[in-house]
Amino acid sequence: MSGAFETEGGGPAPLPPLPVTVISGYLGAGKTTLVNRLLTEAHGRRITVLVNDFGEIPLDESLIVNRDGDTLSLANGCMCCSIGGDLFDAIDRILEAHPRAEHLVIETSGVADPAKIAQIAMAEPDMALILTATLVDAANFEAGLADPLLADTLVRQVRAAGLVVISKADHAGAEATAALAATLAQMAPATPRVEAAFGALPIEMLLDPAEAPAPAGHVCGPDCGHDHAHSHDPAQDHGAHYRSWSWSGAEALDAAAAEALIGAEDIGLYRLKGVARTPAGWVEFHRAGRQSSFRPAQAPADGLSRAVAIGFAARFDAGALDARWRALLV
């Protein structure tokens, strides 16, 4: 068949890229607990989680509807796959699955460099990197930094993150957590941090926060400006900590200037996504934490460009973003 490598043709419309979240962190940082929540909480999405070994996850047996070698299927449509021999094989299996998952979460090994895993999702057209989140164990991270065998690995994981999640702050105590926040601020000054005391990280933060209501957790931006040493009650409404912005229109954007703005570090953006027309064609773009992507895309049915953004109230200047966005229109 000569059409094997045609990029267009009569087949079914191509699926949109699979959104990907990479979860990193050293042993004991709480990755497994988080994965368990992603698989079992009522978030209404069919999430596939790729893990090294699902034997470690304390999944409720009654939720499991099928076991097939490297894959567990749950009643809520979520799946848990073990990486098995080769990460790339496993990703390929997930991309080829019918139906395809709505979101892929990759749990990295305790010593992996998450930047390398994130690169896969950035390179593969059928995947879209949403976020790399690095979990930091408030009780043990400083001790790890003092270990010359480990320190560089831990620093690499924090520097690769778009969002740092401080876990086990309740075990570590207020003083240690505050000290850790200072260490992290020095290590990765532009990276937002969230304290997930009592495992209370709002998981929308990891999936697609721009579409979610303001989460019921507290996100500390770099310039949050308050005392970080307090504990967080997950039930408390922290919606006031967020501001959002959106835009749609028929105009085209200047591609280079738009790409620069989407990656800008001076407007306090946490999350931005959208699709827009440029003189060279349609593009889609994402930003989560410090990470952004910008690439060619299909035109939407209504022919309108649109973008939506969210950021930390203490830091995100929606007015400034709006003004700078309008300056991109050509």
């Binding site: 068949m1 000569s2 059409g3 094997a4 490598f5 990029t7 050293y26 042993l27 090294n52 070994d53 034997g55 470690e56 990486i83 098995g84 021999g85 080769d86 790339f88 094989d89 990703i91 390929d92 991309l95 090994s109 305790g110 010593v111 992996a112 460099d113 390398k116 690169q119 896969i120 950035m122 390179a123 593969e124 057209p125 065998l149 480990l150 560089d152 690995t153 690499r156 591609a255 790409e259 593009v283 992507s293 910008f294 690439r295 060619p296």
Partner: protein, 542 residues
């Protein structure tokens, strides 16, 4: 009564200190009945004289203590290397000295590859070509409408044509690490590391690991081994799913199969107890030709890839330290569990920091659960110093050194990765032997081509392509090098009671050579022609 065959050879180098040389070897039921002169079988009732090796020299079948089955999968694709190479069926593939020659070869091959299939080549190594670096414009001459992909010999780089770039959506707007560019910002076709390579490999269905699990790859591995005199080879990092083991048991049992295979189960992040029980279950499935039950642990990366864990002063160019594949804490746990369960380990350590942590873990495990003859083996262990060899000797840890690095990467280590001092003392075969450490040397095929006589040549001469002698003090003698490709690796596999020397009672596993390694000039060692092997008494000629 079973038949006894007495082979006469020009010379038999036995590696048995009781009778270092002989002219005749008697074989019965696949084993060595007697060794000596024309009448060596007489006390056993004599035998039929076979003179087919009359002009040849017999050595114990070589043992590749660190290789990978993936070697057998490569020949499905077009060879594009600069050196002449012989495929498993004995066909010579001429090396290509220029980018133009590579393109011409690919054009020829494209005409034979069915429409709709990608054109894939392997073995390419730009550092040996003096011409312009291969790019997509060269490969567009091969085809504009089918993807063309050239896998480099290190497996970390891929060069593709414009069609393949288009399939992956790579353009000047792509913001992905590892997509190399022309000076005008357009991708030039070179893709560095797996993340950037993956979209192409996936769309062209190039999957070397999957290919290497299939029967043709297993058979090709055996044939390639035979052509370089190897009768026992490891597959030193196997997944060993149940169906893989079923297949391997069946394939290796065939009468025409010429290689004893020792696959080692590779550790990945899982509970030590689960890993131990998998290894033990596999051990129960061993057969004569397939030896299961030992395991592989990979602690760090590679020196040439700047991913090995190094002690101070680290990399010459100040690159950050390498990566752990297993967290040090977990390394201690899994080594302790395996040792306590009496599972033998092959542990990959390239950098000296990785070796040190591994020795610490082994020491802790052995103090808790003494095992007098464990033969845990450090694999590569390229930067071990005198101190680490002393520790290995004290603990009975074996070393399988990557001596081929002298020739294949030696100049790069000297000039780029670690600098002259450590390049001179890497793969320190002399130190290992002087400390009394059991020594093997290996190719890590397909990282470098399998060929024990070449590995031995590297360990004896320590010469680089630029003519440097890297550490004269670490040279070993030809006799020592022959030991390190036969009995040495046999010991690291706990098979020295069965293979590794030509003496009564052992398997009739021989390498059949055209000349005597102990008589030629040491520099000619790698040029000795391999005529074939004898595996369990069955003759296989190249």
């Amino acid at each position: 009564m079973p038949e006894t065959v007495v082979y006469r050879a020009r010379k038999i180098v036995t590696l048995d200190p009781n009778r270092p040389e002989a002219t005749h070897v008697a074989v019965r039921e696949g084993r060595i009945l007697a060794v000596g002169g024309p009448d060596c079988a007489a006390p056993w009732g004599g035998g039929r004289l076979d003179e087919r090796f009359g002009d040849a020299v017999l050595l114990p079948g070589f043992v590749e203590g660190h290789g990978h089955m993936m070697t057998g999968a490569m020949w499905r694709y077009v060879y594009a290397g600069d050196q002449d190479r012989v495929d498993p069926d004995g066909n010579l593939h001429k090396g290509m000295p220029s980018v133009e020659a590579v393109v011409a070869r690919l054009k020829e091959a494209a005409a034979e590859i069915p429409e709709g299939e990608p054109i894939v080549a392997w073995g390419f190594d730009p550092i040996f070509l003096p011409t312009e670096r291969l790019n997509c414009r060269h490969l567009d001459e091969v085809s504009k409408d089918r993807p063309v992909a050239v896998v480099h010999s290190n497996f970390h780089l891929l060069t593709v044509n414009s069609k393949a770039l288009e399939m992956a959506g790579y353009s000047r707007d792509t913001n992905v690490e590892g997509v190399a560019r022309f000076s005008n910002g357009e991708p030039n076709g070179e893709l560095q590391e797996m993340a950037a390579m993956f979209p192409i490999l996936r769309r062209c269905r190039i999957d070397f690991r999957e290919l290497s699990r299939r029967e043709p790859a297993v058979r090709a591995y055996a044939k390639s081994a035979m052509r370089c005199g190897v009768t026992t080879a490891t597959d030193l990092a196997a997944m060993l799913e149940d169906e893989d083991v079923d297949g391997l048991l069946r394939i290796t049992a065939a009468e025409d199969f010429c290689l004893r295979i020792v696959p080692t189960l590779v550790f990945r992040e899982m509970s030590p107890a689960d890993f131990v029980s998998r290894a033990q279950a596999l051990g129960k499935r061993s057969s004569d030709m397939l030896r299961l039950g030992s395991v592989k642990i990979v602690t760090d990366g590679s020196i040439q890839g700047f991913t090995a864990r190094l002690k101070w002063p680290g990399h010459l160019g100040g690159q950050p330290n390498g990566i752990w594949n297993v967290p040090p804490k977990q390394l201690f746990e899994v080594i302790e569990a395996l040792n306590a369960a009496r599972v033998q380990m092959h542990i990959h350590t390239n950098g000296d920091e990785a070796s040190e942590v591994t020795l610490d873990a082994l020491e802790a495990a052995l103090c808790k659960s003494p095992w007098p003859d464990h033969r845990h083996t450090l694999q590569h262990v390229q930067l071990a110093g005198e101190d680490q060899f002393a520790r290995m000797a004290a603990m009975g840890v074996c070393a399988n050194l990557f001596a081929n690095h002298m020739w294949y990467f030696g100049d790069a280590h000297y000039e780029i990765s670690i600098g002259p001092d450590r390049a001179r003392r890497m793969d320190a075969c002399r130190s290992a032997l002087d400390h009394g450490v059991t020594l093997a040397i290996h190719s890590d095929t397909p990282v470098t081509p399998m060929g024990p006589l070449t590995v031995a040549w590297c360990a004896v001469n320590r010469i680089t392509p630029k003519g440097r002698v890297l550490g004269e003090a670490q040279r070993i003698t030809v006799a020592e090098a022959l030991h390190a490709i036969t009995l040495g690796p046999a010991k690291t596999l706990k098979m020295d009671d069965e293979i590794g020397s030509i003496e009564t009672g052992k398997k009739a596993d021989f390498a059949v050579l055209a000349d005597d390694p102990l008589s030629v000039a040491p520099y000619e060692l790698r040029n000795i022609e391999v005529l074939g092997t004898v595996s369990g008494g069955r003759v296989f000629m190249a």
